[in-house]
Symmetry: C2
Subunit: 109 residues, 2 copies
């Protein structure tokens, strides 16, 4: 056991959960916030910024890349990362949609 039973849920539910999972680590939040703040390609200084080992940082970057949230291009010796604005927008819309369709009266419990 232990494996998520994805077949029990709708495609949309699995998708939202996957997107949330991409954000479910402070290091990845930190990376995203840093890239957003810089609003540009960021080369190199991500490892220094985070305080995690280089291998660990690379692993988190890979997950964000797999999620589509960031993209990296090789720039000589360095690799430069930035936000993928298209996917970023998708996340924004999806989470906003998820939280919107509530009727927050709370008149029951």
């Amino acid at each position: 056991m232990g494996a998520t039973k994805a077949d029990l849920f709708t495609k949309q539910q699995n998708e939202i959960a996957l997107m949330a999972k991409a954000l479910a680590h402070p290091a990845r939040i930190a990376i995203l916030q840093y890239l957003v703040k810089k609003n540009a390609c960021v080369c190199g200084d991500l490892v220094d910024e985070l305080g995690l080992a280089q291998a660990t940082t690379s692993q988190h970057l890979k997950e964000l890349k797999t999620a589509g949230l960031i993209q990296g291009t090789i720039e000589g010796v360095n690799v430069c990362y930035c936000i993928n604005p298209k996917v970023w927008k998708q996340y924004q819309v999806l989470f906003a949609g998820f939280f919107k369709d509530v009727a927050p009266d709370g008149s029951c419990c």
Copy 2:
């Protein structure tokens, strides 16, 4: 190793990651969507709704309760769950804020 190094990150970053983690499973998304759709106390039928074992469902409910997203009240034999509108709103605001402060030009990579 393997434990998240929470002390490396800001309080806000850890908080966002924790909130995302609460959403990072399709069963929990399904529970939340169901509660939102019903917009009322839901007693009992959650186990049938999900298709997971009773123990597993209870475990997910507990995590959502810990995250504050839902609240449960004992109603005789049953326990009734509903969205906690206050915390729901907090999530909505926080995620909207997180995704808003991007400048999605993407003019670099």
